[in-house]
């Protein structure tokens, strides 16, 4: 048992960091929308799915004959990240416009919005399975779709018995850059101040001249774009996707957001990484089929002692 742990600890840590980074990026969308609207946007997992398919289409169109390196790799990665972020961000704005804004206008309860979110999630999954995926790929919409290889699995360096590969580095570095950029945007810019103000006290924010509709739109755009980036990185790493790829991953990312403290951007980052690591470490002892049990047990235990998550809610409490 101890032998297993020593042998597997470092490789599991690398795997946990990589997948945790993807959890964290998706968690940002849940946490931002919750912070501003107090709404759990269940359709966010489909925004992530849209990001994976955007990348799939772009990579398939480029169709690299062999994995890329150097400047070509950088260029293509940048391209799929930007395009996926744009398409997912756009889809998130559209989602807000169609599924949430009419309800908000009518002053509907939060429960109504939640039902609308679940409906939108199922609608998007089926829309992709029945119409969009067959149209994009020419294959049955519920089949798993595979993409060509973009990045070679070269070991860049090893820590003990853990190999750190090019693709691992790309995922973690890209995720960290995106999260720093978002953190700066929310904490250092005028629009970010608007987001924080709305999260803290929507009525006072309106009185101070903040346009709520604009802020909500920007919030969905940013959260959606992060999910798009996560989709691009996911596709590059795993090279396949399917219409319901976001379902379980979305639940885990939401868990990560709650674990870190929902409404808290840095909490989402921390929650994602912690969740990724704990799943993989727990799997060493209990087997990989226990990953989900481990993840949710940790969530329950943390919430028992810190009901607001590890870092607490802070988008609301942030100093403007």
């Amino acid at each position: 048992m101890l032998d297993d742990f020593l042998n597997q600890f470092l490789p599991s840590t690398v795997g946990g960091l990589v997948f945790g980074s993807i959890y964290a990026l998706v968690a940002l969308g849940y946490t931002m929308v919750y912070g501003v609207l107090r709404l759990i946007n269940f359709a966010h997992s489909e925004i992530f799915m849209i990001g994976t398919f955007t990348s799939l289409v772009v990579i398939t169109a480029i169709a690299p004959a062999s994995p890329l390196t150097g400047i070509a790799l950088f260029g293509v990665m940048l391209l799929i990240i930007v395009l996926s972020a744009a398409v997912s961000g756009g889809a998130a704005i559209l989602l807000e416009l169609v599924a949430y804004r009419p309800l908000r206008r009518k002053g509907a309860t939060r429960l109504t919005a939640l039902i609308s979110a679940i409906g939108a999630s199922l609608f998007l999954q089926e829309l992709f399975a029945l119409v969009i995926i067959p149209w994009l790929t020419g294959k049955p919409g519920r089949n798993q779709q595979s993409s060509p290889r973009l990045v070679d699995r070269d070991t860049v360096f090893s820590i003990g018995n853990a190999d750190v590969r090019t693709d691992h580095i790309i995922v973690v570095v890209a995720a960290v850059i995106m999260m720093i950029a978002l953190d700066r945007l929310v904490n250092r810019t005028k629009i970010g101040r608007g987001i924080r103000a709305t999260a803290q006290d929507p009525e006072a924010a309106v009185l101070m001249g903040v346009s709520i509709d604009n802020i909500v739109r920007v919030t969905f755009l940013l959260g959606g774009a992060m999910a798009g980036v996560a989709g691009a990185l996911y596709l590059m790493e795993f090279e396949n996707t399917v219409y319901n790829v976001g379902f379980v991953l979305g639940i885990k990312a939401f868990t990560a957001a709650v674990l870190g403290g929902i409404g808290n951007l840095r909490g989402a980052l921390l929650g994602g990484i912690v969740l990724g690591l704990i799943e993989n470490w727990g799997a060493i002892f209990l087997g990989s089929e226990w990953k989900d049990v481990i993840a949710f047990t940790v969530l329950v235990v943390v919430l028992m002692f810190r009901p607001t998550g590890i870092l607490g809610e802070s988008l609301q409490k942030a100093r403007a």
């Binding site: 597997q8 690398v14 049955p140 519920r142 190999d163 996911y234 396949n240 060493i284 990989s288």
Partner: protein, 391 residues
């Protein structure tokens, strides 16, 4: 083959929890031994539903066998009546009643799946109609004490030992790693494979993962740390393809093998052709690929002419199931009871395997067939006793 695969998964899932049944008896117009010029034989299975992709090939095989027979101008011709059960037990029950009382079939090919087979087995028994299923693989079907029920395909319980014994012979492994996802079929297959390895003195380590997981890094870490000689995965091609890709990316080079749930070209597309190369697949089904020789080649060519597509899963078994009844009728048996008597003694070289039945209706020859991915394509290597894997 790819369109067939979703259906295959669903069917296997259904099959693993359900059981098969048999046929209708009662002679079609054979009252008291007058001169009979034709009899009716039924074919039952999911012909238009979501799993039809694995029933249409055996249907085509049966149609082909009966057309070939009728073309020889026999004394008693056979009319094939097709029953579309959609794979649903409740529909199969109604259709069997219709087949027995209205159409007066003397024998039934099918039902294709285990669930519907279980549902109608008793009814066929009462009606004294012999049945031969080309594709129902649930082991429990043979344990109902039915005397009119038969199948020409090895059951699920034969598959795990078949894979393990083949790998022990081919690779002489010291250590095996047995993986599966958490679905019923997957876990069952993995358990029988692991047990057979242990019985053969091979050290076994195991891991499982959720069928919806996409990151298998912890599993890859375990496999690397165990450094096995062979890896067997119990499960379907969607998870199998992802797993195989991540194993190879993670630097694991051991032989990868899996069962009929992963026997699909989508395993190769999911894993990538490079990662999938040399992967070994086992199946109770005998699917000729374009490069076969001998009787299988003849079957391949004739099937392609008759059905206009390459033979797919259970096509040879469908042909053999029909041949069983053709031989019985050729020998002058035109009632369900007489045909069933004849089946006890039948023994011939089928296309898929030598056909002979045990008393409980199971095939005497429960061969498992081995396939290997070569240049990105699944290639039939032959029955497990004879197959030689390369690489």
């Amino acid at each position: 083959m790819s369109g067939a695969r979703l259906g295959r998964v669903l069917a296997l899932a259904a099959a693993s929890s359900l059981v098969l049944a048999a046929c209708a008896g009662g002679g079609g117009g054979t009252d008291a031994g007058g001169d009979v010029t034709s009899v009716k034989v039924g074919f039952m299975g999911d012909l238009t539903g979501e799993s039809s992709a694995i029933v249409i090939p055996p249907r085509n095989g049966a149609v082909m066998a009966i057309d070939e027979y009728n073309a020889t101008n026999p004394k008693v011709k056979i009319e094939l009546v097709q029953y579309d059960s959609q794979g649903k037990p409740e529909q199969a029950t109604g259709l069997v009643t219709k087949a027995v009382t209205q159409d007066k079939v003397v024998a039934l090919i099918g039902p294709a799946f285990s669930g519907e087979s279980k549902a109608v087995g008793g009814l066929l028994e009462e009606s004294k109609i012999p049945s031969v299923s080309p594709s129902a693989t649930n082991p429990g079907l043979a344990e109902n004490g039915w005397t009119y029920w038969h199948r020409v395909v090895a059951n699920d319980a034969d598959q795990g030992p078949g894979i393990a014994e083949f790998l022990v012979k081919a690779k002489a492994p010291k250590k095996a790693f047995v993986l599966s996802d958490d679905q019923e079929y997957s876990v069952g297959l993995a358990e029988t494979v692991a047990k057979s390895f242990t019985d053969a003195g091979v050290a076994v380590e195991t891991d499982k993962f959720s069928k919806d997981a996409s990151d298998y890094s912890s599993t890859v870490t375990k496999v690397r740390s165990a450094n096995p000689d062979v890896i067997v995965f119990g499960g379907y091609y969607a998870q199998g393809g992802r797993l195989l890709k991540q194993l190879r990316d993670g630097g694991v080079t051991a032989t990868f093998a899996s069962g009929d749930g992963s026997l699909d070209q989508q395993l190769v597309t999911g894993a990538g052709a490079a990662a999938a190369e040399n992967a070994v697949l086992a199946c109770p089904c005998n699917i000729p690929s374009a490069d076969v020789t001998g009787p299988l080649k003849t079957f391949f060519d004739n099937y392609k002419k008759s059905a206009n597509v390459d033979p797919a899963i259970y096509a040879t078994e469908g042909y053999d199931a029909a041949t069983v009844f053709i031989k019985a009728i050729q020998a002058g048996n035109t009632t369900g009871e007489k045909i069933n008597e004849y089946l006890k003694t039948i023994s011939f070289e089928g296309v898929s395997k030598p056909i002979k039945f045990k008393a409980n209706g199971e095939p005497e020859n429960n061969a498992i067939f081995i396939y290997q991915v070569k240049a990105g394509v699944l290639k039939l290597l032959g029955p497990a006793e004879e197959a030689k894997i390369e690489g």
